[in-house]
Each structure stands twice: as C-alpha cells, then as structure tokens.
C-alpha cells in the first residue's frame, strides 16, 4: 500500500510504472528462444508492455500544457476513471499476459525436452557406432598394440606355416645326406666283399699247395693232408660267402643309388615348391594389406568423425540449459505481474512501484536479471546468458574445513576452498 502520494494522477504514475513495465518487457525480449512460436509469444508480451508504457507515459510538453476547458473535469471523477482502468489492467490485461507467458514457457519446455531426448538418442547411437568402429579398427590393425592387426596376424600365420615347411624340407635334406652316406658305405662293403673273395682264393691256393706237400711226405703227412683239405673247403666256403656278400651289397647299393637319385630330384622339387610358397604368401599378404588398410583408414575416419559429431551434439544439447534459465526469468516476471495485479485491486493509491521493484529483485538468481534490473531505465538488455565458458569461479569445492575458510582458486574454472 502506497500512502505517500494520495493525490497523484495517472500521469504522475506514468514514468515510474513505465520504467517497471519497460523492465519487464526487456526481460521478455531478452529471452533468446529459437522457436518461432515461443518467440512470437514473448514478442506479443513485449509489444503489449511497450504499448502500456506509451499509454501511461506523458511527454513533457503534454504534461506542461494546460487542459482545454472542455476537458476539465472534477479531480474525483478523473481519479475514479483512472482507478477503473487500472483495475482492468490487473483483472484483464495482466492475467492475459501471464497466460501467454505460461503457454510460451510450457511449449518451450516441451520442445526442449523432446529435442534433448532426440539428441540424447542420436548421441547414444553415435557412441554405439564409435564402439563398433573401434572394435573393427582394432581387428584391422588400429589397436596400436604393435601386433599389426588382422593383416599382421595373417602374415604371421602364413610365415609360420612357411617356416614349418622349410623345417620339414631341412629334415628331409638331412635324411638325404644319410642316404648318400649309406651309398658311400655300400661301395666300401663291395670292396670288402671282393677282398674276402680274394683272400679265400689265396687261402684255397695255399691249402692246395699244402695238400701237395702232405702227399709228398707220405704216411707222416697224412694228418697234415686232412687239415689242408679242411682249410681248402673253408676257403671255398669263404669265397662263396664273399661272392654272396658282394652280390647282396650290389643290390643294396643299386637300391640306395636309386633312392639317392630320387632324393636329388625331390630336393629340386621342394626348393621350387618353397620358392612358389614364398611368392604366394608374399602376394597374399600384400593383397590383404591392400584390402585391410583402406578399411582401417575408413574405420579411423568413422571413429574420428563420429566423435567430432558426438562432441558437437553434446555441446549443442548442453546449450539447451537456456530453457531452465528462461523459465526462471519468465517465472519471476509472472510473479511480479501477479504482484502488480494485487496492487491494482486498490486503484491508483494502491500502486507502489518501489515495492514491485524490490519484490522483483528479491527473486533474482541470475546476473543477467540483476543487470536488467539496474539498467531498466535505459534501453540496455543483458541479452546473453552468462557463457558456460565463463572462467571466474564457476565451480567451487568445499572441503571439510570450517565454512568461513577462505576460497583458494585451483585454476580458472574450479575454485577450492
């Protein structure tokens, strides 16, 4: 209740009330809402407030001019008309503005919630794509583990198989050396068998001579003749055995030579096969690289681009925080309009702009609101929300120290207490 200006007229209230209305209008206009419809609502409200400001504000020349004689009415009548109009402002105009603001606020919130849900869904799906592409890149060789990925694995496996093949060929070559050594041994065996035959022939000749000498000795040489005869039989048996050995060794030697010849041919074939395998493996690995490298590059590109898009999307969604701020500003404007409405119920005498401003200021939570409030007499609007990147003490941490402990900044964005 204002009790300090009981004789004021509407013109006398015009300037301060106009300032308040302009302030509310600026708050409405300052809302940066991307939706045309919602912006339209705020625009209508701002225009209405500006219109009321114009209606209530008299220019200095108008105020200075004396009223024409036919306009002259008793002060009580003018007061009554002003009160009636002012009550209509409270009962009709203010509720209409409140309805428009509330509708705009609800529509904006619904829109932002839907957008955030949709963006969140896209963000989630992009993260799934990054996971899948990362797994693919890991398999293809982008894991950074130094294993070379799938192409490296294939190369490693094929090289291992080639190594096993080479080892097998090496063992086969060792066996062929043994066969060659065996062929060489059979030649010596043949010589030994021949020596046995020659020894048997000489022994036989020696036994024959012994038998002749025994016969010449007569009856005394009879015993010696029997021994010489037995030696001759043994030498003949040795000669037969030597012959058999030589024939057998000949058979073995022939077989060994055939095996040796086969081994030589096989060695040449194996070397050819090994060379072919080496060339084939190198070609396969090269072709595999030619396929996997572009895939790997593509996977990396997908990961990078998706992460960039995801990050941009995340940042975009974070900007939706403006809805909370706008909602609060609109709420404070509506509260003040409600206060104005209650004042108008008592007519002009009930108006108390100072009380309206004080009450409005109590509700502020944001720096922009306070800037608008302090500059409401000039056409300057804090149109931008405090940026999320604002450096000064955006986050403050409280430790277990007493609440009066002084703050100590850790870096530009975070302050520890």
């Amino acid at each position: 209740m204002n009790n300090q200006a009981p004789t004021r007229t509407a013109a006398a209230w015009a300037l301060p009330l106009g300032g308040l209305v302009l302030s509310l209008g600026l708050l409405g206009v300052s809302v940066a809402v991307p939706q045309t419809l919602v912006a339209g609502f705020f625009g209508v409200v701002a225009v209405a407030l500006a219109f009321l400001t114009g209606k209530l504000t008299l220019s200095p020349s108008q105020a200075a001019q004396p009223a024409p004689a036919d306009w002259a009415e008793p002060t009580a009548v003018v007061q009554a008309q002003d009160d009636s109009e002012l009550r209509k402002v409270g009962s009709v105009w203010v509720p209409t503005l409140e309805n428009q603001l509330n509708t705009a606020n609800k529509q904006m919130e619904q829109g932002i919630v839907s957008l955030t849900e949709a963006f969140g869904d896209i963000h989630s799906k992009l993260n799934d794509i990054v996971k899948t592409a990362t797994q693919a890149a890991d398999v293809l060789g982008a894991s950074g583990s130094g294993q070379g990925g799938l192409a490296g694995e294939v190369s490693h496996s094929l090289t291992g198989m080639l190594d096993a093949f080479k080892q097998s060929l090496h063992e086969k070559a060792e066996m062929f050396k043994e066969v060659k050594g065996f062929i060489s041994s059979t030649d010596e065996l043949k010589k030994m068998a021949t020596s046995v035959e020659e020894l048997a022939a000489k022994t036989n000749l020696l036994a024959l001579n012994a038998a002749i000498e025994a016969a010449r000795a007569g009856e005394e040489g009879r015993g010696f003749s029997i021994v010489a005869d037995e030696v001759r039989k043994l030498s003949m048996l040795s000669a037969e055995t030597g012959l058999k050995i030589r024939e057998r060794v000949q058979d073995i030697s022939s077989a060994a030579r055939r095996a040796g010849d086969g081994a030589v041919r096989m060695e040449a074939s194996d070397q050819h096969m090994l060379n072919h395998a080496n060339t084939t493996v190198a070609s396969v690995v090269t072709q595999f690289h030619a396929v996997t490298e572009p895939l790997e590059t593509a996977s990396q590109q997908i990961i990078h681009n998706t992460q960039v898009v995801s990050s941009s999307l995340n940042n975009a969604v974070v900007h939706f925080q403006f809805q909370d701020r706008v909602s609060q500003i609109v709420g404070h404007v509506c509260d003040s309009l409600e206060h104005l409405k209650s004042q108008t119920e008592e007519g002009l005498l009930g108006l108390d702009v100072q009380a309206l401003m004080t009450d409005l200021e109590k509700n502020y939570t944001m720096a922009e609101e306070r800037i608008n409030h302090s500059s409401s007499h000039v056409t300057k609007v804090a149109s931008k929300a405090a940026p999320a990147s604002k450096a000064s003490a955006h986050v403050e941490f409280f430790d277990t120290a007493p609440a009066t402990a002084p703050a100590a900044k850790a870096d530009e964005d975070i302050t520890f207490f």
Binding site: T116, N314, Q321, D324, H394
Partner: protein, 121 residues
C-alpha cells in the same frame, strides 16, 4: 562397476542435459524432480554422488541437503549444488549444510565431469 549419480532438478530439460553428460561417461543416473521426490530415491540403494538444484518447488535444494545429512546411510554422499544462483551468502549456507561443491549454471560438460570424478574418486 559404474557409479550412480542422483540428479535433482525441477527442470526436465536440465535433468536430461546433466544425465546425458554423465551417462556418456558411464555413470548410472537417477532423477528426482524436487527435494521431496529425491528423498524417496534414498531407499537403501548405493548412490555415489548427488547433483541438486537450489530453487525447486515442494522442497528446495538446501532443505534437501540438510535432510540427506540427517540420513545415516547417505550422510557421507558428496553433494554438488547446480544452480543459477551465485550469491555468496547462499554458498556459505550450502557449505555449512554440508555441500561439497557449488556449480553455477550453465555448466560445461567437462567441468561437470571433472567435478563429479573428483568427488566420486
């Protein structure tokens, strides 16, 4: 095992933005639309951190913080106040009530994650 964060804010869109930021880093998220609603979420389940708004209908953020500190199960859960308010007197009240941090909206995602990771570590 992922950590669980309770987000308390009367603005659905703000809860969504905070939830999206935290979920992208593997946090589980619970939501309460005001202090009173959030108290019903304190039903014995493990909660590692609470992010709460200050001005909310039914029960404001400071009252909610004081109620949490009375709860034997949850009194040691760190709480971040996330609000458009930056008044030093309110911050002092919040610190006295047991808040671990005060963050002014609008927040930056990396800032939020840095604070959350610091307090749940």
């Amino acid at each position: 095992m992922s950590k669980t964060v309770l987000i308390v804010d009367d603005s659905t869109s703000l809860r969504q933005v905070v939830a999206m930021t935290l979920k992208s880093q593997g946090f589980e998220v619970l939501e309460g639309c005001d202090g009173k609603d959030a108290l019903t979420k304190l039903d014995g389940r493990k909660i590692h951190l609470i992010v709460s708004d200050l001005n909310m209908p039914n029960m404001d953020g400071l009252t909610f913080v004081r109620e949490v500190k009375k709860n034997a199960t949850y009194k040691f859960v760190p709480i971040i106040m996330l609000t458009t308010e930056s008044d030093d007197k309110l911050k002092a009240e919040g610190q006295a009530a047991g808040l671990k941090a005060w963050m002014v909206k609008p927040f930056k995602p990396e800032q939020m994650l840095q604070a959350v990771n610091k307090l749940v570590a």
